[in-house]
Amino acid sequence: MKRRDFIRRSAFAGGALSVVDLRELLARPARADDFEFDAQERELAFVALDAARAAGATYADVRVARNRSQSVTTREQQITGLADNETMGMGIRVIAGGSWGFVATNLLTSDGVASAARQAVAQARANAVAQLRPVELAPAEVHRDGQWSSPVGIDPFEIAIEEKVSLLFEANGAALDVRGARFVNASFSFLREDKFFANTEGTVTNQTIYRTTPNVSVTAVADDGSDFQARASTDVPPRGLGWEHVLDSDLVGNAPRWAEEAVQKLSARSVEPGLYDLVLLPTHLWLTIHESIAHPTELDRVFGYEANYAGTSFIYPPADFLGRFRYGPEIMNIQGERSSPGGLSTVGFDDEGVRPRDYLIVRNGVLNDLQTTREQAPWLADWYRRSGQPVISHGCSYAQSWADVQFQRMPNVNLLPHPERDVPLDELIGGVENGILIDGNGSFSIDQQRYNAQFGGQVFWEIRNGRVGDMLKDVAYQLRTPEFWNSMDLLGGPSTYWVGGANNDGKGQPSQVNAVSHGCVPTRHRGVNVINTGRSA
């Protein structure tokens, strides 16, 4: 996309962009390489597609991507790193002889990409040697000129380094002003990915994707050196937005609270293990949703394709679960989408050119659908036909960069608000006699079929007789996925909805990271097993 278009779209989508900012942006000259990318990528992509076809590929797609990333890292009042990185190349995926082949190269010349395309076809034929079933793709709508860009208000790469450093130092200073806060690390990282896609069916898309990640962590150390405790800014998640997300995050305003909580943890009471009612704030719950709902509903995992690393799923065989398995109570609805503005997984088109649709993974507490790519949608053909749905991909194909093959990754997976009324957080807490309120995500671990999980948090508060009391520490809860979600007796309404997420969701071999957001409301769970994680050496 041309820079001019980028600014026009941003002005509509951003919301946080003031008139003055916009004028400033428009006044800056566009960089030459913003224009250069378009023409080159198109030409080379078609050279590679032609070479793949000529070598015998029955299908091919290419992605030409340029990732620009910038990181600024600090501790206390010191800079510890300032880096501006770029990587560019082409990934070529083909089907030949019924098998996949994939080759990626940074050699962006006609000869280089044509040779890589032929290599991909040869590799596919090698892979076909012991083939049992040929790859088949579900039909997909052809998009001849798909265009999309993250709804960025202020391009983070246009903000001066001095402003970035100064904001981090100010946040660090605000944290260190709190007595007992000894160390603070704060950083920004920004990504802009220009991604061009074309396949042999005629789909051509061009997208610009942004991510902005602010991060702060404060450590307090006891005066006698007997203890140390940290508080991370997990309530400020990464987003598919621009600099406006940094401004909205108010690091300077929040830093004293993070620091105070780190200090308070030093003297907090260590939890008594046992069964508790839990009230989980969205700042914490998004990760529990990620692990216990979003991962087990990945279809490649369900069919055993990830068994050697990421694992399989308790949802097997899917025919016994779809439309039948009660994931949770009637009030529980789980949505998969790649359309919410600012969502980390949000795109116009996935990495095989499919426009993703919003859909319900859990409807009224019952498993309703799974996450698919074009290769996988036909695996659920019986269910889709039975439930009157088309056998097409949900648009969950993704690769972390040009050098990685695309495969099934989760969309933004959200727990929707209470379907009937705007339940406030106070009502959830008010119904608890003996419980714990958990704020922020912390330690997390779950088994390879997504049954048994253990989660910590950032800050834990005792709930007694419907009121929030003292801070606790050394808290982790253990769960079994179906029982845990069915122990939920109430969840917040639309006004309590909040979006968390992460840039580092890992899956696949070689492991690739996926960036994904999870919107959710606070929930209340009855009788959950809490352990004490504190041990002395």
Binding site: Q123, N127, N308
Partner: protein, 447 residues
């Protein structure tokens, strides 16, 4: 494309630094080819071959430092990368910890490129996969697995005269075999420098046997168990400690290795006296990294000697401030063992658990290096000196510190596939262990 040779890397580095306007600059080059093949449901599912070269230039004006990376190698792009770092550096505040670039100094030299790995083709990978998929299919089992190999080079050149170069090969093979009804699962894997040393069918046979043998796992009480850990599980645990050796965190009072009242625990006995762990860039069993990203040579480091903390990991700045020699950070390590075989350990156990590997390992409490995770792909009950029956997988909350204070028996060290994702990684060589106590906190239904 192949990886850059010493001369090619030197020429590229000189070309980059030729664009530099600063007295203090450094270029780091990583180049190479990575190949992989995945298999699932007894056939190849995907594969990939990737060539890339990345060039990072770091510029300092005084103590103002910034870096920029590109993988485009034409003059215009390289010049642009240099200019980006030169544009950013003056905008950065002064870094009081920047010590300047290194002058010429020798780095350990070794030949760690293996043609059997460097020349591995997609066809050969597919044939290796078939050595597992075919016997698994014959037994009506489902095999999945992953093969990865990389041969590449890295180089560092500074404007002060340092030039460091190394090239190496590395490969990894792993497979998980499952029963079609989902009641049994077995894993086997290995890391190696030379692909020609791989015995894929033997690893496949181990995974197949474990899958068969783990059908119908029984319940088991969580709690403290006598536990025999196969080498992969040992590496899963010991790696957590090796990643916690940062001297600065210890001196700042925020590490297990902090000494209450100040300083760190170097010289203190903190593990069983049989535990010795070292790294060595020249030892052919390890070939740990010969230099770091600044071009600083690494040497042999004994991290733990007979249970005593030998040293912590010191970067240049912290070493200078504490008046010590920099050590580099751990990349690959060798843990000494003993003479016991796995069979000896099983025979000597009246009641205990046998663990193949661990999974989803995440930190819980850095004060004790306490982590949580689960067993998977082959967990068995031992009774009266024999493997009695398979048991369900268990979640643990445990620290390598506690584990290495509870050592009962040690076996012969072997190179393992230490990462949960089975990617190529620095060599890790560890023994199997029998420990008196390992803390399992709940049972999992996952197979």
């Amino acid at each position: 494309m192949a990886y850059l040779s010493r001369d090619e890397a030197r020429a590229l580095a000189q070309r980059v630094l030729g664009f530099s306007r600063s007295e203090q600059a450094r270029v780091t080059i990583n180049s190479g080819d990575t190949g992989n093949t995945r298999f699932a449901a007894n056939q190849v599912s995907t594969a990939g071959d990737v060539s890339d070269t990345s060039v990072t230039v770091t510029t300092a004006f005084g103590r103002r430092v910034a870096s920029s990376t590109t993988n485009r190698l034409d003059d215009a792009s390289l010049r642009a990368a240099v200019e980006t770092s030169e544009r950013l550096a003056p905008l950065s505040p002064e870094d009081p910890e920047y010590l300047g670039e290194l002058g010429a100094m020798p780095v350990p030299e070794r030949d760690a490129v293996f043609p059997g790995t460097a020349d591995l083709s997609p066809e050969a990978r597919a044939l290796a996969a078939a050595q597992v998929t075919a016997p698994a299919a014959e037994r009506s089992l489902l095999s999945t697995g992953y093969i990865e190999h990389r041969t590449g080079s890295s180089a560092v050149m500074t404007t002060r005269g340092q030039f460091a170069y190394q090239a190496s090969s590395n490969a990894n093979f792993s497979t998980t075999v499952r029963t079609p009804d989902g009641t049994g699962s077995g894993w086997a894997g290995a890391g190696l420098f030379d692909w020609n040393e791989l015995d894929a069918s033997s690893l496949g046979a181990q995974a197949i046997e474990k899958a068969d043998r783990s059908r119908g796992a029984r319940d088991v009480e969580p709690g403290s168990w006598v536990t025999i850990l196969e080498p992969t599980a040992v590496a899963n645990m010991v790696g957590l400690m090796m990643g916690s050796l940062d001297a600065r965190s210890a001196d700042e009072g925020r590490s297990f290795f902090s000494r209450p009242g100040g300083g760190n625990r170097i010289g203190e006995r903190f593990l069983d006296s049989r535990v010795t762990i070292w790294s060595d860039p020249l030892d052919p069993r390890l070939f740990s990294a010969p230099f770091n990203g600044q071009g600083l040579p690494n040497r042999r480091e004994v991290w733990v000697e007979n249970g005593v903390l030998g040293t912590l990991a010191y970067g240049r700045y912290w070493a200078e401030r504490q008046n010590r020699e920099p050590t580099g950070f751990v990349s690959g390590y060798y843990m000494e063992g003993g003479n016991a075989t796995l069979d000896d350990m099983i025979r000597s156990t009246e009641r205990g658990l046998l663990v193949t590997r661990f999974w989803y390992i995440r930190g819980v409490d850095p004060r004790t290096i306490l982590f949580t995770g689960l067993s998977r792909d082959g967990t068995f009950m031992i009774e009266d000196g024999q493997i009695a029956y398979p048991v369900k997988n268990l979640r643990w909350n445990e620290s390598p510190i506690f584990m290495l204070n509870n050592v009962e028996m040690m076996g012969r060290p072997v190179r393992v596939s230490p990462s949960e994702s089975s990617e190529v990684s620095p060599a890790v060589v560890v023994p199997p262990l029998k420990v008196r106590s390992f803390t399992f906190t709940s049972v999992s239904d996952a197979v």
